[in-house]
Symmetry: C2
DNA sequence: ATTGGCACTCAACGGTGCAGAGTGCTAATT
DNA sequence: AATTAGCACTCTGCACCGTTGAGTGCCAAT
């Protein structure tokens, strides 16, 4: 039965369809590919593959195109390609020129979108457990305050709190001094009990406790999880793949971020080197015709941040996987030595 | 000759085409609109308008559509519509719930994209001349430092500088103390000379001068000008207006930001309440089929920040102008009282 | 200045008829 | 048992074609 040839046929169909975006037929496949069998044999194999649900034909008397399941099988069987050497060098130099965490993320997402010719997404690195370097309190308006926390790993987080009642200048100043004494040099986990004791002793009002909360959550890295993306125009380029202009919902979902974040979290839990979600696999309606290739970066410990590429299911999986892996690897290196 | 009727015909053509996205013909126009003249008369007027270059026909024996110049004439002659009362209330409540400058901008851009059903862009408010509240220096790595400047108007700016050579802990600490003494309480314009004298006296090395530069530019509000945008899916919805999928370049230009920023600057200089750029008027190739409706907000003095809506030239100008003006007005109020 | 009338143009639409690619099936071959 | 050649069949895509109808420009009449 030649299980091997069937696999080769599937791969050829995927590659052909990705390259030309047209259904591939048995005759063309027999001629082009070097597997020394006739088109009739290939037809038989195709019938079997269709039976398995791996390929389908858009209409009778057309060639076959891969189904989501077909892409999945293909991805599971193919190792991600190697990066070209010049590409590797480009990544390394391009990223190491960054001056700033924001800059690193920005550059990464652009780079990835260019390498993959897809929409690239990069999640901001999850902050590490890093001691507080300084706490700054600034009044704004009559009853609000700005809380700025600088961490030793060069992170600056800010938030505003409402004081609730009028606070005198003296109270405010003394709270700022006290907070610095208590917080500086402590990591977020050490910080919680220290703040509690600071609140309990002394004559602090309820406003002090909301300020303390703000300090703690800022030290932890803020509550907001963000992703940035680039290369949305690549979606437009591939718009012909989405039949009736389904690109609108995709753009919406990207802007919303919430669906995307959920997906990235799910993929992070798979814990593989590079994980791939194909079409309907990722559950969200908006992304039901797109695939996502993602990899974790940063602390290879508990909770890595993610980055990835998103495009039509008809994408160059090996190439995209290689690019995603490469960028993730370089980004890890930078984030960790920072 | 009835100049008035010609104007009415132009307006009817613009409104009809915007509503239906189909060329409007003389007969339909004579029937629908209440101007009590026959189609032949309208045909004569149309011929005159075409002579003036205000309308055109996609092909012989089709109705007329407005040219860029036609839209321009229309916009110049029509006052922007009034906002619906419920809309006004929605704007006010939606924006006043914001907790943070970032939040305000974020909310504004979403709101504007929903109101206009176009792509909305909001430029970050240009910082006001506000005294420095605190300067923070943090070392990162062996020879780099993070500079954080907190201004009295609740702005936090950060940047990193490379020190160039190894700096001892003592030198670093003393520089930090010195900088705070010199900078705190001074506005950016006062700051420049103070920093200069600080550098000249004492035994400061060349690294101190790059740190001082960083402090100054941070106090001025950072060098980066940013715009955020939302509602890109509205572009996709209107994709039928762009003949051969010209939405890709538009998305690219939005991400690049630089072209958009240049346009916004130019529009700011016109200094009108609400300014409109139509199609080819805005020079950039990518935007040659789109119009931009923009208004300034914030300090009505020297350099206002801008916000606006971007969409196909075939857009509802009065409605868009009304929405842009309304959001700009509310946003001004919030930014100024902050 | 306006209008009715008329000839003309041209996109859009539906029908019709190939050409070609691709398939499934069966019978022959190895 | 697997492979292949051959054949009938089914579609889509394309070109061609006449018809329809909306819309125009122009001219003479009001």
């Amino acid at each position: 039965m030649s299980e091997d040839r069937r696999r080769a046929v599937l791969h050829a169909i995927v590659e052909g369809y990705v390259a030309t975006s047209e259904p591939v037929g048995s005759k063309a496949l027999a001629a082009a590919s070097e597997m020394g069998v006739s088109s009739a044999t290939i037809r038989n194999d195709m019938a079997a593959l269709e039976e398995e649900g791996l390929i389908a034909q858009p209409h009778t008397s057309a060639g076959r195109i891969p189904t989501d399941a077909g892409y999945r099988r293909f991805v599971d069987q193919v190792a991600s390609a190697a990066m070209h050497e010049p590409h590797k060098r480009a990544i390394s130099t391009f990223l190491s020129d960054a001056v700033d965490l924001n800059d690193v993320v920005e550059r990464s997402v652009r780079l990835l979108s260019q390498l993959t010719r897809q929409v690239a997404v990069v999640q901001y690195p999850s902050p590490r457990e890093s001691p507080v370097r300084r706490v700054e309190l600034v009044r704004i308006g009559a009853d609000r305050a700005l809380v700025v926390v600088v961490s030793a790993d060069a992170r600056v987080e800010q938030s505003t709190v409402s004081l609730g009642r009028h606070v005198t200048e003296d109270e405010f100043e003394s709270a700022a001094r006290g907070l610095n004494e208590v917080a500086v040099g402590r990591t977020p986990t050490e910080l919680a009990p220290s703040l509690a004791t600071w609140l309990s002793r002394g004559t602090h009002q309820e406003w002090a406790s909301s300020v303390a909360d703000a300090v703690l959550s800022s030290a932890r890295g803020g509550t907001v999880e963000r992703v940035v993306f680039a290369g949305t125009s690549n979606l437009a380029r591939a718009a012909s793949d989405f039949e009736t202009n389904a690109i609108g919902p995709v753009l919406d979902a990207l802007e919303e971020q919430v669906v995307l974040l959920r997906l990235l979290h799910e993929m992070a839990e798979e814990g593989r080197d590079v994980s791939v979600r194909i079409g309907a696999e990722n559950g969200a309606d908006a992304f039901s015709r797109t695939s996502i290739v993602a990899a974790g970066y940063g602390s290879q410990g508990d909770s890595p941040s993610l980055l990835g590429a998103l495009g039509p299911t008809r994408m160059d999986y090996p190439g995209t996987m290689a690019a995603v892996r490469a960028v993730a690897r370089y980004l890890s290196r930078i984030v960790e030595t920072e």
